[in-house]
């Protein structure tokens, strides 16, 4: 019970902390930061667009599929079908979507949800307080992916458009943010009831309706003629195409077979100047990291963690990973633009001589110096791991590489702690703070098995900070503990790009980089009558 409470508290702390921490990093991503499109005469109705996705929708049931807010995965499709009840905008502010407001007057003990009037699901049933209650009650079910959040509150319908939310335990001042990040998809209760376990024809109140779905191929969607936002969406059709091979995704956009994909910048370096294509960056401000297993030898010893960090050059790691000789390392926990960035707090890296001394010391004490580097079996991670292996072996470790399938990484690393060092797959998105910080500092989820009461207390101080100065001071303590303990090491930042045909415009994103696909339009069609 205590650990559950602690975990819940941690989640709230993390949410508050990161909400404020990310604002500056995201300031560049305004809601109109769409791509540059030659000859763009403004939004036009009609046409279609195809978005390339890397992953499949496993289920349209929001209690089965966690609608990821990472662009290009499932969230984009869920937004198209369900719209968003609440969302986090590009300025990192929680905004109402189909909700008119979601407010609290008592510090998060109770919340009041008010819905826009007149919204209907595409099956004609009302999108009202009863519908939201039905979805959230389902979400609290035992086998729901949303259970951890949905079970923290109860709901009561006040009137057709008003739902009162009461926290079961402690007040939650950031419930709106948590809802906006993971429980924003509301499905038609009628459709859920009728279709039961075989929920293959999703019904929402989003800008598009699902016409055809093949899990391995993608989705064909058509415009919802009764969409609640008048005049939207601009496109008549929206398609999602699943292409597993990264190079073929790019080729397909270059060739015109699809209109849009998102990827890390380094993955697109060779294609940026292809004709009839454009790029639109969004500053995720993510961090690339590697993590030590602090629960077993050799990295249960702080000297081993220090030695490993000193053995490796972060610039070499990121350049091996991206194959971009221009790529520079980044080693701090916050971006330079953040008010919480402290230039004197970094984990020292790239001092092989000192690393060799530490390793010799460990060896003389009979420590096991075998380092199993567990990483995704993907080319960029393999290249980085190969560099790490060489660098670690040069100072006296005995490093071996163990590639695992992406689907098995979590089981091996998180569930079984079966690793010594692992490269975090993907990047830690600062604009997805609650998830990212939970990964690092929540005792339940942390990769490194880093369970530090001092860190927990420091995050409490972050939460309770009365003003910006206190917040900066609290975050300084967080960074000091991180640099002292070294549960993980930051070696680079990264940014993602939308890579698209230059005839696609209206690329407007939420805080996570997910697209508002109702604003997408084509510049190569005639204006509607």
């Amino acid at each position: 019970m205590a650990s559950t409470k602690k975990s819940r508290l941690a989640r709230r702390l993390i949410a508050v902390a990161t909400a404020t921490a990310t604002a500056l990093a995201l300031a560049a991503c305004g809601p109109d930061s769409g791509g540059s499109n030659g000859g763009d005469a403004g939004p036009q109705r009609g046409g279609s667009a195809t978005i390339i996705s890397a992953g499949q929708v496993l289920s349209w049931d929001p209690t089965v599929t966690r609608p990821s807010t990472v662009p290009g995965v499932t969230g984009d499709r869920f937004v198209a079908i369900y719209d968003t009840l609440l969302y986090v905008d590009a300025d990192d502010i929680v905004q109402p979507g189909t909700a008119e407001s979601f407010t609290t007057d008592d510090g998060g003990a109770t919340w009041t949800l008010k819905l826009h009037e007149g919204i209907k699901f595409t099956d004609g049933t009302p999108y009202d307080a009863e519908a939201v209650k039905y979805n959230w009650d389902r979400a609290a079910g035992e086998a729901s992916v949303q259970r951890s959040l949905a079970s923290t509150f109860t709901t009561e319908v006040i009137d057709e458009l008003t739902l009162e939310v009461t926290m079961v335990g402690d007040p939650d001042p950031v419930l709106d943010r948590l809802i906006a990040e993971s429980m924003w998809a509301i499905a038609s209760p009628t459709a859920l009831e009728e279709q039961g376990e075989r929920y293959t024809e999703p019904v929402g109140a989003g800008p598009f309706m699902l016409e055809k779905w093949d899990q391995a191929v993608g989705e064909d969607m058509v415009r919802n003629p009764d969409y609640w936002q008048e005049g939207l969406p601009y496109l008549d059709e929206l398609h999602f195409q699943i292409i597993a091979d990264p190079a073929q995704r790019v080729s397909t956009v270059i060739q015109g077979g699809a209109d849009l994909l998102n990827n890390y910048k380094f993955a697109l370096l060779g294609s940026l100047d292809a004709p009839n294509t454009a790029t639109t960056p969004f500053l995720a401000g993510g961090l690339r990291t590697y993590h030590f297993n602090m629960s077993s030898e050799p990295f249960n010893d702080p000297r081993a963690r220090e030695a490993a960090a000193l053995a490796m050059d972060p610039t070499e790691i990121v350049q091996a990973m991206t194959q971009d000789p221009e790529e520079e390392a980044w080693t701090a926990l916050f971006p330079e633009t953040s008010p919480y960035y402290q230039d004197d707090i970094v984990i020292e890296q790239n001092d092989p001589a000192r690393a060799a001394e530490l390793v010799e010391e460990l060896a003389s004490e009979g420590k096991d110096l075998t380092v199993r580097i567990v990483m995704f079996a993907i080319p960029e991670a393999t290249r980085a791991a190969e560099y790490m292996q060489i660098a670690l072996n040069e100072v006296g470790f005995n490093a071996v590489i163990e590639p695992v399938q992406p689907s098995d990484w979590g089981t091996q690393v998180r569930d079984r702690d079966d690793f010594d060092l692992t490269i975090y797959p993907g990047i830690m998105d600062l604009n997805n703070g609650p998830v990212a910080f939970t990964n690092f500092f929540d005792p339940v989820q942390v990769i490194s098995n880093f369970d530090s009461p001092e860190m927990f207390e420091a995050l409490s101080d972050v939460r309770n900070a009365a003003d910006r100065d206190e917040l900066i001071a609290a975050f300084r303590v967080v960074q000091e503990i991180w640099a002292e303990e070294r549960p993980f090491v930051v070696f680079a930042t990264d940014e993602r790009l939308f890579y698209h045909r230059d005839t696609l415009a209206g690329l407007t994103f939420m805080g996570s980089g997910m697209l508002y696909n109702n604003y997408l339009y084509r510049t190569d069609i005639e204006a509607a009558e």
């Binding site: 499949q56 496993l58 289920s59 089965v64 599929t65 966690r66 035992e142 086998a143 992916v145 259970r147 951890s148 376990e197 075989r198 929920y199 293959t200 779905w213 093949d214 899990q215 391995a216 191929v217 195409q241 699943i242 292409i243 597993a244 091979d245 190079a247 073929q248 995704r249 080729s251 397909t252 270059i254 060739q255 077979g257 699809a258 399938q405 689907s407 098995d408 990484w409 979590g410 089981t411 091996q412 690393v413 998180r414 569930d415 998830v435 939970t438 990964n439 339940v444 989820q445």
Partner: protein, 317 residues
Amino acid sequence: MVPVLKAVGIRLAYGIPVFLLVTFIVGMFAELMPGSPGAAILGDQATQEAVDAINKRFGYDLPPFERYVNWLAGVVRLDFGETLFSREPVIELIGRRLAVTGELALLALFWSLVVSIPLALIAAMREGGIFDRAVTAISSAVIAIPGFVTVVILALIFTVTLRAFPATGWVAFTDDPLQNLKYAFLPALTLALTETAFFYRILRSELVGTLREDFVLVARAKGIPVPRIAVRHVLRPSFTSFVTVLGLSIGRLLGGAVIVEFFFAVPGIGGETLLAVSQKDMGVIQAVVALSVVVYVVLFIIVDLAYAWIDPRVTVK
């Protein structure tokens, strides 16, 4: 006719233990895969309680042997169950994927035969000549190049440089036959290349041997032109080994060309199998394995019967 039917029946009966053994082994080995459907759905941050609840929801909490027996009982009724997440009947899904893979296999096979048989005939008739040496060298190179390299080279030529064919995707034949052929061209060509090289080498070798037989010498002594001898008298007796290779090739193509389907985003059996493995969707994995066993058993029966047709001295027992 009766001996043939009896032979087919016996071979089918032999296929049953093979079917049981293979599907059982695959089912048990799949249990050794890390993770579970619950973990696949919930991601790497889920608690064990939530994963267990999802597994229970999808009936994945039963012991492996009990699940296998349930699956087998369903197979007897031609009920392969439902897919793990989309809850679609597995048999419908496999049928849809098989239509795509089957079309690619047929196209690849057709092109391979159309190209390899004439090439083998010409090369065998001019054994040791420049043509023979050149084609043999090319076929060796094609066989030596791995499939994952072939797909990249062909994509580079036909999609990036010439922009003649779509880089990825699929249009069903029933939706638009012309577009369907356009989308099928590159995947089928990739598959056909290797098969063509294999067919060419096997058939050429057989033809060279047959052309040295006495009856060919007699035919030539009679003044029958060599091309006519080759087509009318040499080709058929040279098909014995070729038919075996052909049978294996069909099985391989229908089993799903994973690399080709993955690369060109073709929704065939290969891609579906990859997806099913990543999702731990045992219903689909077992169905694909069952399909493979059935395909191979049937193909071997056809190959055995073909031997008798090719060589009247062979009798089917």
